[in-house]
Symmetry: C2
Subunit: 397 residues, 2 copies
């Protein structure tokens, strides 16, 4: 079997995670190039591949262009800092190297158009590696929606709730891009984990599209209080003013009247959730207590606890076929198994030259939320339009 | 003991509920007048008072002015249709009759100013009877916040989630005001159940104020689909176009940078919740799974179920003193006991001439959300300013 030759750009926390949990386990790829601006990260990755797979990638570099230009690389996966996602992807597409792009928001709308236009000119396949589109819960809901069980969907909620105070505060030390982003920007900086699955449920770019959004930021208090408590002697940190609000709420409107709310909540004490919530005319689902309600169900008027966690019961019946099979075969490591599914899908689509399940239009529709939310906040919470990156190709009979 | 002489204006569902669950149980009041535009409602209420208390109110009328003008009435309680709340309250204040005002949104900002100005001219006590400010959960959180356990609060969520499809669809038959409101308007029509408690937590009108809001409405699909399924032969209903969106999301900004989201969700299948959520720098609470997280707590990174329902555990420790006492004495009927507490507080404040716990400024700050959300939606989801009804009296050192 011929193996797909992959170059990895970006070997920080996320890149190394995917390497360790998924890539070294796949037998249809060969990692031929490693790239990071920090040499020790490249070395650690090389060591790990050597240990697990018995070879070392021949190209090790700090220059992503070298990876892309290499004749020994057919596809690249980008796990670099957010700022580098689009430049690296565009360069790769121009050179005809397929792109697997880790999640993250864009920095401008122009950048999104550049991705689209480069794709349309080159037809080089690109896919956003949105692992949450492969989550068991998300795929189950998508499956139920496709079966019509929710009726007309009128509203969805999603969130990225993750206490990142430790990660952000240690960003300088750990060379993590979140520090500089939280210091300088104020926006929905990480929308795709929740929005990707919701966009699929609402048929975005496939008969529907997102038309406008508004974002509102709360004050920024969480990081500073955390630093004063935990690092009171670190003068740099104590004196850092973070522009990023603690909670960013975004409301998106879609072409057919659906609304979506997104919440970014990453600098306060809390547990991790994505708070997926689907409101249809025939059913309701809330991840926060994993409960379904179906139209016509008899309910206690003011007691909803009997429904808590009934998602467990329905999972058996409604799990997506992909997950039914996956559970049989044995779920792999990496965020409850979804990392494996998304990477596997990307690799197979490249090898078999199949259309990308998350294509360039999906990718930019989700990434553009970040600069648009930034714009809305800068303009005093104005409603701003979301471009139609498909130039009309979303319209269906 | 001299009893407070009360006239009741509005004896539909809510007015009769409060009469039945609370008023006939109080021994410090006498109901001296009954008013409703429908005579049968007055008759039913009179019968109930006679059965439970052994007397009949001497005044029975369809004209609220007669009630207010009566020498035998010292205070009135208004449970009439939303449209009548302010006119009746203003007339009563001008005549020096204390007002207990059932919850509901206003129809215009001018109407809110009229309440304020009438109060400032007459000093007649008025209180919004917001029962949810007396809920056990809400008062526990307020108690914890006042003890500093949440640190700096940066964001709160609240909602009125209640499947009212049956009530609205049968509104003509049942002479219920929701039908005409849902047919003609599109707004956050019922904000106070969740906003009242949140406003108290954020010190609104007491060192803080709400400065602006934006509202976004989803499409309206729930009522029509419900009617097509349940009343397909009712031509009037089948042909009714409801302007009210199924889900209305509102984001409010406060003077000190806090944000509040409100969700109105009343025309889709679901259980009842108010979804109270408090995000502070030292603690987090979510009603949807009744869970607290405190800063520094060790958590499973991606599993929050261990925290579900830990609110039960904390209740013992942090119940508000009012509820600790109430639980000892025995909780009364009416929405889990809170109806009794709010009415009792109102009656005692009138009898003892104490300041109203929910005063005219609180009342209009909460009611004004309705016309402002309507305006925001009409103007294409513009951010609109929230007036300072205190004219600066909210500012504290």
């Amino acid at each position: 079997m011929k193996k797909l030759k992959i170059g990895i750009v970006g070997l920080g926390k996320r890149g190394y995670d995917v390497l360790e949990n998924v890539l070294v386990e796949l037998d249809n790829i060969e990692i031929t190039a490693l790239c990071d601006v920090y040499d020790d990260r490249v070395q650690r990755a090389s060591d790990h591949i050597n240990e697990k797979c018995g070879y070392r990638p021949s190209l090790n570099t700090a220059d992503y262009k070298e990876v892309i230009d290499s004749n020994d690389v057919e596809a690249i996966m980008i796990f670099a800092a957010w700022e580098m996602h689009v430049p690296v992807a565009v360069y790769a597409m121009k050179k005809g190297k397929c792109v697997g792009l880790e999640v993250g928001g864009a920095y401008s709308i122009e950048q999104c158009w550049e991705l689209v236009k480069t794709y349309e000119e080159t037809k080089t396949p690109i896919m956003m590696l949105e692992n949450c589109c492969y989550g068991r819960r998300e795929m189950m809901l998508l499956n139920m929606i496709e079966q019509g069980l929710f009726g007309t969907i009128v509203h969805c909620d999603g969130a990225y709730c993750h206490d990142l105070r430790n990660e952000v505060s240690n960003g300088i030390k750990n060379r993590h891009y979140r520090f500089r982003n939280y210091k300088n920007r104020n926006c929905e900086n990480y929308p795709t984990h929740e929005l990707g699955p919701i966009a699929q449920m609402l048929g975005i770019n496939k008969g529907n599209r997102m038309v406008s959004l508004i974002s509102v930021a709360s004050k920024s208090a969480g990081l500073h209080e955390y630093i004063m408590k935990n690092y009171p002697d670190d003068e740099t940190l104590v004196n850092t003013v973070f522009e990023q609000g603690d909670v960013i709420t975004t409301i998106i409107k879609c072409a057919h009247g659906e609304t979506i709310t997104l919440t970014l909540d990453t600098t306060l004490p809390r547990y991790y959730t994505r708070n997926l919530c689907v409101h249809g005319t025939k059913a309701f689902y809330d991840e926060r207590n994993n409960s379904f309600v179906f139209d016509g169900e008899e309910l206690d008027e003011f007691n909803w606890k009997p429904n808590w966690d009934n998602g467990e019961k329905y999972a058996e019946q409604y799990d997506h076929p992909v997950w039914k099979e996956y559970l049989k075969q044995g779920v792999q490591k990496g965020h409850g198994g979804m990392d494996y599914l998304v990477v596997k899908d990307f690799v197979e689509c490249v090898i078999e030259n199949k259309p990308m399940p998350i294509d360039v239009y999906d990718t930019v529709s989700w990434m553009c939320i970040t600069p648009l939310s930034e714009k809305s906040i800068i303009l005093g919470n104005q409603m701003v339009e979301i471009p139609d990156f498909t130039n009309g190709k979303w319209v269906k009979e």
